[in-house]
């Protein structure tokens, strides 16, 4: 890997995979970083899921959330997509000297709100204050524990399976990108920051045998998750470009800044691969839930292009959705 850490090493793409594989796992051991969102551990007769995540974001308050609600929902969602029922969270704050107390209070209030909405408790924590300039206002780490009540079994993904997204794609990443580039909105583009555990629970309860894979497509977006699914497999996944739920504002900002919403972070979405037969029923069920009202089938698993995630364009052509290489920057050409 590169001889220095670049910002691209944090953007959920190929560089990060190199760092995890080539450095962290090599030194700390193969168990140190889970490819899944959480580690599954046996405790007594039962099983728990355990996960941790650190949050840094500029700006720390944005339409639809704050770094605080993001930190709660991110960890809750990592547990939920493992099929676990999230129970307890820790919260560690790294505060930059000079941060306004009123801002910290607002962030804590939004954490509390998010925890209540998800039905989890924040049970332990830590705070550190660092010198001005040694952190960017506030960094938050949350760890979470959830209980695995259902026997989660891996079911093989096969051609004919369907890919579902629980709502509009790219809202969070594009909203943040727009804020940083002084784009304003007449019809609110807001972060989708939300807990997915209740929605996931509803689907698993009604369709216990149908769901084969779940992931919250955060950093790196939908396209990165799809790449993770198909890599090295004898099947591929094709998305129909015209079926993608994209807000007008997301299309507008993406076009303006030359970025692709399929690679933009979602903070309140779940992507599922399900048996094709039940896809319609699952989408209908999701749509009856506030967190899933814009759910849609966006693609199918096929054996046409093994190992590839691709997009079927309205011209009848196809293009690959490659693994994102680095962070996306606004561009003019």
């Amino acid at each position: 890997m590169a001889d220095r850490i670049l910002s691209g090493h944090g953007s959920g793409g190929k560089l990060m995979n190199e760092m995890i594989g080539g450095l962290i796992r090599r030194v700390l051991g193969p168990e140190s970083v889970q490819l899944d969102d959480s580690a599954v551990l046996s405790v007594g007769a039962g099983k728990i899921a355990f996960t941790t995540d650190t949050f840094t974001i500029t700006p720390i308050e944005f339409p639809g959330g704050t770094i605080g609600s993001l930190a709660v929902n991110g960890t809750v969602n990592d547990l939920a997509v493992m099929g676990a029922r999230p129970l307890y969270l820790s919260c560690a704050l790294i505060l930059e000297e000079g941060l306004e107390t009123a801002v910290l209070e607002r962030i804590l209030i939004s954490m509390r709100g998010a925890a209540d909405r998800a039905g989890v408790s924040i049970v332990t924590g830590d705070t550190k204050v660092v010198e001005r300039g040694k952190a960017d206002k506030i960094f938050i780490n949350t760890a979470g524990i959830g209980i695995l009540e259902r026997a989660v079994q891996r079911r093989p993904i096969v051609p004919g399976d369907a890919v579902i997204i629980s709502g509009f794609i790219g809202d969070h990443g594009i909203a943040i990108m727009a804020l940083r580039n002084d784009l304003s909105f007449s019809r609110g583009l807001v972060s989708d920051c939300a807990p997915m555990n209740r929605l996931v629970d509803k689907v698993l309860a009604a369709f216990p045998e149908s769901v084969k894979f779940m992931r919250d497509p955060t950093r790196g977006g939908v396209a990165s998750v799809l790449n993770e699914i198909v890599q090295g497999m004898d099947f591929g996944i094709g998305l129909a470009e015209t079926s993608l739920p994209l807000r007008d504002e997301v299309k507008g900002v993406s076009g303006m800044l030359g970025i692709d919403p399929l690679y933009a972070a979602n903070e309140g979405k779940v992507l599922m691969v399900v048996r094709g037969e039940e896809a319609g029923g699952i989408v209908d069920l999701m749509r009856s839930h506030p967190e899933g009202k814009d759910a849609a089938v966006i693609g199918t698993v096929s054996d046409t292009y093994p190992g590839r995630a691709y997009l079927e364009t309205p011209t009848g052509g196809r293009r690959i959705l490659p693994l994102l290489i680095e962070e996306q920057l606004p561009r003019i050409c």
Partner: protein, 347 residues
Amino acid sequence: MADGLRSLRLERDLRIMEVCGTHTTEFFRSGVRDVFPEGLSLIDGPGCPVCVTPNDYLDRAIEIARVHGVTVATFGDMVKVPSSYSSLAREKSTGMRLEVVYSPLDALEFAAVNQDVQVMFLSVGFETTAPTEAVAVRRARERNILNFSILCGNKLTPPAVKALLDAGETRIDGFILPGHVSAIIGVEPWRFVAESYHKPCVVAGFESYDLITSTINLVRMIGEQRNVVENGYARVVRDGGNPKAREIMYDVFEECEAHWRGIGVIPGSGLALRDGYAGFDAARRFPVDPPAPRQHPGCRCGDLLRGLIIPTGCGLFGTACTPENAVGPCMVSSEGPCSAYYKYGGM
């Protein structure tokens, strides 16, 4: 419509060049390349400003930042491009201050609110972008924002197309001409391609619709030997272009010779600040002596930009040169041909 393209019957193999890098990428992204008829090939032209900028430009920018401690403001496009010894992304990780902007005016505004730092904007781009950079320089003078400067790397496209045709190294049967460059310069500056070199041309837009209809028209024009410049993007491109934009551009800049990666020095193909704006010229304000530029001996970006090879014809493609560890700019620019082939070409 796509079927109309797919079912075209060609009398012989045809090689058409898309000059503009955005067209390169859009032909892939839209899937239109996928519906090309048998025997039609697209030759990527010298129309990605990041790709045609030679190493010594970035070498100088980085040296200025190191020696004079300036803050570098740039379009996102330049951040990951390799220089001879480094890249802006790498320099940032070791302390260089880098400001990624969407508009040259954002760089000017950054300078206005940070009067204690020198802000050097990397002024690259073709005729579409140069007027925006000219406006920024004019405003800097009007508002007396003296901690703002630009490093000129702007280039003009018709001289590069002429240089390719004069070199005659590769057969090109017709040209898809850049839509947004033509919005500024108009159709007139391209007529020499059709009239003196007998190559049909279509000025094209960027929607799938534009790509398909422009390609179909160009193929027909080649078949009929109709050597004219057709404006396939009339909703944006006027025959006379945008005279106001050119007036601003030539008030601030004057033509000069410029060095193009792969092609070499082309007279009258670059833009330099006029003496009246010399105070905003970073190259004059911050003298440096950058190390001699160097280039990987196996890198064939130059041959690619001259239309001699397609990306997969380079021995480094996909092995020693990948987007995350690029040897040449064509692999890392968002509209570089190698990047497009690497990302979308495996279908």
